[in-house]
């Protein structure tokens, strides 16, 4: 549905210097799927989204929507945003304060190139407002809406034209934590029900993991990895992705050699020898970084069976309600582990640590 190739977008900085906000960005989104651009603030997500929307004119690359080129630097083609027929929800929602809820939602139908009759407009607007649960508020001043309602109105306005592609720029970041969680489910339900192709921008990894069919992790204007949520989380391709998507423990290590099954290696780190998995071929003496998620570090008071087991002491612990975080010291090194809160070992007491080799990912630094 959407293909982006070799996209480069630059801004002109304060002193005239170019700011490369997006570089060689390339990805595709199949029809009906929700694709997420995930990355820290300032990494170029919004820039990429605005380039797709036509609000920025990229320097290089090609963008096609539904098979039609809308931008190509080679052919010097640029379709202006108001002719692209896309729906977009802005981070600030951009609800027009001088209009009612109804007028906000009806605006795209009134100003577009295609003309609608009054009845058609009324029908479509009420239908889309009902979809986002705002039908009773149609005549209300848009400024009288709460944050969550504004967000839904912005969504309704983006959907009313039944666009071929929906663009969402951090649509939940302005809501408080509780509401954010609820809207996350609402959004997912709506997208799956309408089957509308969506590009979603967020810096919140849990949002990305919860909503997406596919995620692109971005850093400094470039895409670091594209994959399904589970893939990105469990098999990060590099240290940045491992660090940004979820919390993790990093250990510097050196490869000693292959170990049995394909993809498994023996490596030496400050904790000693251990077995780890890698998604690319490694050779002895390669320097690697091991990434282990806290929830993949198992703690027990009795010595467990299997490989990758050490003894340490509980250095600190934090009770979080549904789970507990432990800092375990092994020699000089501290590892963070997330366990069930039923583990009651006290600070200073000894404890056993086990890491599943499949969950211990060796990355090229």
């Amino acid at each position: 549905m959407l293909t982006v190739k070799g996209l480069c977008t630059e801004y002109v900085g304060e002193r005239g210097q170019p700011i490369r906000a997006a570089q060689e960005v390339a990805f595709g989104v199949p029809p009906g799927k929700l694709f997420t651009l995930l990355g820290p603030s300032g990494c170029g997500k919004t820039t990429t989204l605005r380039s797709i929307a036509g609000l920025e004119r990229p320097q290089l690359g090609e963008i096609a929507i539904g098979g039609e080129l809308v931008f190509s630097s080679q052919k010097n083609l640029f379709v202006p945003p108001n002719a692209r027929g896309l729906g977009m929800v802005f981070q600030s929602y951009a609800i027009w304060p001088h209009m009612t809820v109804y007028e906000n939602a009806a605006f795209p139908l009134r100003v577009g190139r295609r003309k609608f009759s009054r009845r058609e407009i009324d029908e479509r607007v009420m239908r889309v407002l009902a979809t986002v649960d705002l039908a009773e508020m149609a005549q209300r001043e848009a400024t009288k809406l709460s944050g969550g309602q504004q967000q839904r109105l912005a969504l309704a306005r983006a959907l009313v034209m039944e666009p071929r592609l929906l663009l969402l720029d951090e649509p939940l970041s302005n809501l408080d934590a509780k509401l954010r969680e609820r809207m996350r489910f609402e959004l997912k339900r709506l997208q799956r029900e309408l089957g509308i192709t969506t590009v979603y921008v967020t810096h919140d990894q849990s949002e990305a993991l919860a909503l997406s069919h596919a995620i692109a992790v971005m850093n400094r204007g470039r895409i670091e990895q594209i994959g399904a949520p589970r893939e990105v989380y469990e098999r990060p391709q590099n240290q940045f992705v491992a660090d940004f998507v979820g919390t993790t423990n990093f250990l510097d290590a050196t490869v000693s050699g292959a170990d049995g099954a394909a993809g498994f290696y023996r490596v030496r780190c400050e904790l000693g020898e251990l077995k780890a998995q890698a998604h690319e071929a490694l050779r002895p003496a390669d320097k690697v970084v091991l990434s282990v998620r806290p929830e993949d570090i198992y703690l027990s008071e009795l010595r467990p069976d299997g490989e990758n087991v050490w003894q340490g002491t509980v250095d600190q612990k934090v009770f979080l309600g549904e789970s507990a975080d432990f800092q375990v010291a092994i020699g000089e090194r501290r590892l963070q582990s997330r366990v069930h809160p039923s583990l009651r070992t006290r600070v200073g007491e000894p404890i056993y640590v086990r890491i599943d080799p499949e969950k211990c990912v060796a990355l090229k630094p």
């Binding site: 002109v12 929307a53 036509g54 609000l55 539904g66 039609e68 080129l69 809308v70 083609l77 640029f78 379709v79 202006p80 945003p81 108001n82 002719a83 692209r84 027929g85 896309l86 729906g87 977009m88 802005f90 981070q91 600030s92 951009a94 027009w96 304060p97 001088h98 605006f107 795209p108 100003v111 577009g112 190139r113 295609r114 912005a154 306005r157 983006a158 034209m161 039944e162 666009p163 071929r164 663009l167």
Partner: protein
């Protein structure tokens, strides 16, 4: 889905659908450049030529400048202008700062009320304020002199407004509200925590003032002084009414005299005007430099602090008395004297006898005055038309400046602000010369006045619109584009409605200042295109003081109602101050 499919992308770029966007933008840009640049160019050009007449063509000459600068009179003129402007600026600064300090940093009683009243003096047109002060302070008929003479039983003249000191007093007093508003803003922008933290660091009060308060306040103080100086040197009414009768000339009144002499010496007037323009340009330039470097101070101050007020103890009744005296001088006395004079058949100083002769005759006379109805109509027409044109055109201009990344947009901003340096009389002169020279057929019509008003007040419109435009989040506009709206639709249905607070406030402001305008109109009006302020001027020249006062009272009341309506409207639209 279908809708989007229909818009053929190739078509959209290869042959863009005709969009009124470029037409509107081009029209506004051309108009702005034309209004900002052309009169200035003609003024410069004219100052290097001899007068054109039926017999002789204009020839290039330095004669105008030689004549202007060769004579010792000019240096006298220069000195007078400088002394007058410096004095008036210093006086209004001193008054304004004292009042602002009392209002912001002390516990003077009723100061909230005072702040609300502080805009009232601004609605009294300069010519009426000056006339009122003549009635109060003239050596022969001035009420203050007569009262003091009776009190002390002498015939000494106590005050004389027909002097440099009198000019400074009247002009400085009239514009002190401007200083008050500017310095109030400066006091508000200064976070008391900055001073308090200096005290906590062990500094003495004197050290705090020297090392913290003054360096912080300096940009605001200097900018305020410059604004007041430029304003005073442009002032026309006070020097014309108070200086000319006793041969005290400044540049503005000299330009007026050069044009009205027979034969009129337009080249000489232009040479004076160029000098005056140079002086105001330097002032405006310094001030804009200052305000851009001043923003670095602005970011240092936090918002949301409660200004610390000094407890004056019993002295607060003294400061209250200062407030009252000020209000007396600037509003009550001038208005009362006009009111008194408007109720007399012939002007007479207040006395028991005169009190018995109160009459409404002047009101009847002035309402029946032949030109009045047409003048009122002209004033209203010009005020409404220029305010509307300015606000719409500058809305487009400031959209370009604020919202686009068009190269050279800062130039556009500067051109639109250029008329700021034109003193009213210089602008009138430049426009007069321009349309005398090119046969556009608008000289002597109301159109030439409209052009002058639009040019003169364009910078105000730009400023109001810019403040509002900066507050419009760009996503509000972009979401309209994403909805499929063209630029024209977006501008009309999104930008203009969102700009409304600034548009309305600026519109009202321009209407008010247009109705008060005198110094450009005085060179441009002809029989049939008089405006209200010109009628007042004529009445003064004819010595019809009581009719003038009647008209003045009605005008002040009308403007007062307009300001009240504006403030009410402002609250409706959520505008804080006008």
């Amino acid at each position: 889905m279908q809708a989007a499919g229909e818009a053929a992308p190739v078509f959209a770029t290869a042959a863009p659908r005709f969009d009124a966007k470029w037409l509107i933008i081009a029209a506004c840009v051309v108009l702005t450049l034309y209004l900002g640049m052309v009169p200035l160019a003609f003024l410069l050009w004219q100052s290097f030529f001899t007068p054109q007449s039926a017999a002789k063509a204009a020839v290039f000459t330095f004669g105008n400048y030689r004549e202007a600068y060769g004579s010792a009179d000019t240096w006298l003129l220069f000195g007078n202008s400088l002394r007058f402007a410096t004095g008036a600026a210093a006086l209004s600064f001193a008054i304004g700062t004292l009042l602002a300090w009392m209002n912001e940093r002390t516990n003077t009683p009723f100061k909230g009320l005072f702040f609300a009243l502080s805009v009232i003096p601004l609605i009294i047109p300069g010519i009426l304020f000056t006339v009122a002060w003549i009635l109060l302070g003239s050596p022969k008929i001035g009420i203050i002199n007569l009262a003091l003479q009776r009190l002390f039983d002498t015939d000494a003249v106590f005050i004389n407004v027909y002097s440099l000191g009198g000019m400074v007093w009247v002009d400085g007093l009239h514009y002190s509200p401007v200083a008050f508003l500017l310095m109030t803003a400066a006091f508000r922008a200064m976070d008391p925590a900055l001073e308090e933290s200096a005290i906590m660091s062990g500094a003495s009060v004197l050290q705090v003032v020297r090392r913290v308060t003054l360096p912080l306040a300096w940009p605001a103080v200097f900018a305020t002084l410059l604004i007041l100086f430029v304003r005073a040197i442009e002032s026309f009414e006070v020097p014309a009414l108070l200086g000319l009768p006793v041969g005290l000339q400044v540049f503005t009144s000299a330009i007026y005299q050069a044009v009205h002499r027979y034969p009129s010496q337009i080249g000489l007037a232009a040479a004076y005007a160029v000098t005056l323009l140079a002086m105001t340009s330097v002032g405006v330039y310094l001030q804009s430099r200052l305000s851009s470097s001043g923003s670095k101070y602005a970011t240092m101050t936090g918002k949301g602090f409660r200004p610390r007020t000094i407890d004056l103890g019993p002295w607060r009744y003294l400061t209250m008395a200062v407030f009252l005296a000020y209000f007396l001088f600037i509003v009550v006395l001038p208005f009362m004297v006009l009111l008194w004079s408007s109720l007399q058949k012939f002007y007479a100083v207040p006395s028991m006898e005169a009190l018995s002769r109160l009459t409404l005759d002047p009101y009847r006379t002035i309402i029946a005055y032949p030109n009045l109805l047409r003048a009122v109509w002209n004033s209203l027409l010009l005020a409404v038309a220029s305010a509307t044109i300015i606000m719409l055109v500058t809305a487009v201009i400031c959209w370009i400046v604020v919202k686009t990344r068009l190269p050279g947009r800062w130039l556009l901003d500067n051109f639109a602000s250029l008329p700021m340096v034109f003193p009213g009389i210089v602008l009138g002169l430049a426009i007069m010369i321009l349309y005398l020279t090119i046969p556009a057929g608008i000289y002597g019509t109301i159109w030439i006045m409209l052009i002058a008003y639009v040019t003169r007040f364009m910078p105000y419109g730009l400023r109001y619109n810019t403040t509002s435009m900066l507050q419009i989040h760009k996503e509000l506009e972009e979401s309209a584009a994403m909805s499929g709206a063209s630029w024209t639709t977006t501008f009309w249905r999104i930008i203009l409605p969102l700009l409304k607070p600034g548009l309305v406030a600026g519109w009202i402001y321009i209407v008010i200042v247009s109705i008060r305008e005198l110094s450009s109109s005085i060179l441009l009006y002809s029989p049939g295109t008089e405006v209200v302020s010109i009628v007042i001027w004529e009445l003064w020249e004819n010595g019809q003081y009581v009719e003038l006062s009647a008209l003045g009272v009605m005008l002040i009341l009308a403007l007062f109602v307009l300001v009240l309506a504006a403030q009410w409207l402002g609250r409706q639209f959520g505008i804080r101050e006008l």
